[in-house]
């Protein structure tokens, strides 16, 4: 049970988002700028940075939402989902560019604490072709997910473990982005499970 009274049937951050619309607005705008839109890092690469940090923070909901969104950006097949799992287990041995590995190394340091990032970590990224903007955005994505993960777990939100839920979230987010969405709307994967088990479907 969540630490505060949140709308039932909404997984992860969606409960707190609906609970507090005035903070949801800047939070959604931040993630929209960081992870979608034109950038020299692809949306899949930026979603993978978010996924890696969320995995290191052991936040089930965030790592599976953003991992699924990354996989969906790449085509959405089993091969792409496996790449994301490999990246979380050991990014250095995953099929990623040397620049991406250097940026994930920086993101992992930020997850532990800002002061953990060394000049050598940054130099490695620069050697692999990373720009100041890419390094800046990597640090801020990693910092932002150090926030989102704490928000989601710090309120003990409901986080289903059904892969269909995250496949649906990734599919929607890769296409629609983060702003202007109706986060109160129950997910089909959750409504279907609740209907088949005879549980009352949450309404909002």
């Amino acid at each position: 049970m969540a630490h505060i009274a949140l709308t039932e049937g909404l997984p992860g951050i969606r409960g707190p988002m609906v609970f507090s619309p005035e903070t949801t607005k800047p939070l959604c705008e931040l993630v929209q700028v960081l992870l979608t839109g034109p950038h020299s890092l692809t949306p899949a690469e930026r979603e993978m940075i978010a996924t890696y940090v969320s995995s290191e923070n052991d936040c089930y909901y965030c790592q599976h939402c953003h991992g699924s969104t990354a996989a969906q950006h790449l085509g959405g097949g089993e091969k792409e989902y496996e790449l994301v799992r490999q990246m979380k287990r050991d990014f250095e041995s995953a099929a990623l560019s040397p620049k991406m590995k250097a940026l994930l190394n920086i993101a992992g340091k930020v997850q532990k604490g800002g002061k953990q990032v060394t000049a050598a970590d940054v130099e490695r990224a620069r050697q692999e072709g990373a720009t100041d903007k890419e390094i800046h955005d990597t640090v801020l994505i990693a910092a932002a997910f150090s926030m989102f993960n704490r928000y989601v777990d710090g309120l003990a939100t409901w986080q289903p473990h059904d892969p269909d839920v995250y496949r649906e979230i990734g599919h929607l987010t890769a296409r629609l982005g983060y702003v202007g969405r109706d986060y109160k709307k129950p997910l089909d994967a959750i409504a279907a499970k609740q209907a088949s088990s005879g549980t009352k479907v949450a309404s909002s």
Partner: protein, 189 residues
């Protein structure tokens, strides 16, 4: 030296905010809503939560600037703010704020560290769901701001005096004013 090329003469988060205006906008709006919008927790109380988390994360710029903002809301009571950062349990503040600071300290370590017991205690001391929510989000947000400021190795003055004026401005003019969006006169000169 900072890890990336930032505008010179701008302390802490101000350099990255000017470097990246498109992310600065939601970051500043979030701080404004969390720390200054009307709330049953006073701005002083919310700034103290921010200062406490930043102190625990050893982020000089954030802990000193938000301490100064809290003190500015408290008519210059820096002694209370220092106590809140280091040992909130013995500070002269309400039991509710102490319980919320315990929750904030847990969030700083990791979201899963917050226990049902921590939340029950806050509730017994009169905290509402919204206050608990806001406390968790303030602590989470400063876990972000602190990492942003230190992860880029920004320039951070170490003397408390350097933050006094900043604290007054943050407390009384807020976070979304134009100052953060343009080069300050000091850096232009």
């Amino acid at each position: 030296m900072a890890h990336i090329q930032l505008p010179e003469g701008m302390p802490g988060i101000v350099g990255p905010l000017v470097f990246s205006p498109e992310t600065a906008k939601p970051l500043l709006e979030l701080a404004e809503v969390l720390l200054r919008a009307p709330n049953t927790l006073s701005s002083a109380e919310r700034e103290m939560i921010a200062a406490h988390v930043s102190y625990r994360n050893e982020c000089d710029f954030c802990q000193l600037s938000h301490s100064a903002a809290a003190a500015a809301h408290l008519e210059g009571n820096y002694d209370l703010v220092e106590q809140i950062k280091v040992n909130p349990g013995s500070a002269n503040v309400s039991d509710k704020l102490k319980a919320l600071l315990t929750i904030a300290g847990k969030v700083q370590q990791g979201g899963k560290q917050v226990s049902a017991g921590d939340v029950a205690l806050a509730r017994e001391c009169g905290a509402t769901d919204k206050e608990i929510h806001d406390c968790v989000l303030i602590a989470a947000a400063f876990s972000m701001y602190n990492r942003y400021v230190d992860g880029l190795a920004t320039w951070q003055p170490r003397e408390r005096e350097a933050y006094r004026e900043m604290g007054e401005q943050l407390a009384h003019q807020g976070y979304t004013r134009d100052r953060f969006r343009e080069t300050p006169k000091a850096a232009q000169a």
